[in-house]
């Protein structure tokens, strides 16, 4: 019974977690804008959200293997994607493509990072509002008004 109430919230919670993770990644990219040799990182939000919410990935036949997390008793155990179990990261990080290469091999494109940062901020706030309105809806249903 209760999980039906919170089902709608779970999806938004996963989205919020991924948004905060992406925010952290972009902040790291902006912080390292002047570091020689730093490679800009990012991840595909749609794919990551599908993985996180357990929806079937859009494979060619639709018969992809279910993504199951391995049982980890220790936060230092490695997950299937090679990341630490305790890190909470469920996403595969990718390298952002370079548009204008630098002599010091730094691939941070500040214009793109700032745009991504603003975009991610707005979407994070949007997710927050979705959660707030879901909570309000539940409250209204409980109080019966």
């Amino acid at each position: 019974m209760l999980n039906r109430l919170t089902d709608a919230l779970n999806f938004q919670t996963e989205a919020l977690k991924l948004r905060s993770e992406r925010q952290r990644l972009i902040a790291s990219n902006i912080a390292n804008a002047d570091t020689p040799g730093y490679v800009s990182r990012d991840f595909d939000f749609a794919t990551a959200l599908k993985t996180a919410t357990g929806q079937a990935s859009s494979g060619p036949s639709g018969l992809s293997a279910p993504k199951l997390a391995m049982n980890a008793a220790n936060p230092a155990h490695l997950q299937r994607n090679g990341q630490l179990a305790g890190s909470g990261a469920t996403t595969d990080l990718a390298y952002a493509p370079t548009t204008q290469s630098n002599l010091d091999r730094n691939t941070v494109d500040m214009d793109r990072e700032r745009a991504n940062f603003a975009d991610n901020t707005v979407r994070y706030e949007a997710t927050l509002r979705f959660i707030n309105s879901s909570v309000r809806t539940l409250n209204t249903a409980i109080t019966g008004q």
Partner: protein, 136 residues
């Protein structure tokens, strides 16, 4: 809560950029320093940034790993009346390139501002997250 790490990341970048600004300031201050009796003038200094992991994949801060000295020879100007002139009448000044330093300063201050803005945005997001589910 992974977003709190943003303050560590952006904070490390702000600290590194302010150290860069400090070095630029000392370079500019010494732009016209004349070589002492030992014949060596002030040498321009540069900071070297290095990525440092801050917990979790993709969370990377910045540190200043070292401060290097520019070893190119200083400017030599012929001025026999100068008290610091050598036997040939040349005065050796520091090797600071003022234009380069000004560009360096602008770049450092822009990066500093960027990171401050990242922190401000993150702070307002976290404040809104704290008020999650409190109605209206």
């Amino acid at each position: 809560m992974s977003m709190f790490k943003i303050f560590n990341v952006a904070g490390s970048a702000v600290s590194a950029q302010s150290q860069r600004l400090n070095v630029v300031a000392s370079n500019l201050a010494n732009a016209d320093t004349v070589a002492g009796p030992d014949g060596s003038a002030y040498k321009a200094r540069q900071v070297v940034f290095t990525t440092t992991p801050m917990g979790g994949p993709g969370t990377a801060g910045v540190t200043v790993s070292q401060v290097t000295e520019d070893n190119t020879p200083g400017r030599r100007i012929h001025d026999p009346k100068h008290p610091q002139a050598d036997a040939e009448g040349y005065v050796t000044y520091s090797n600071v390139n003022t234009v380069e330093e000004m560009v360096n300063m602008i770049s450092a201050s822009r990066s500093y501002q960027n990171n401050i803005e990242v922190m401000n945005t993150t702070k307002s997001l976290l404040m809104k997250t704290l008020q999650m589910g409190q109605g209206s």
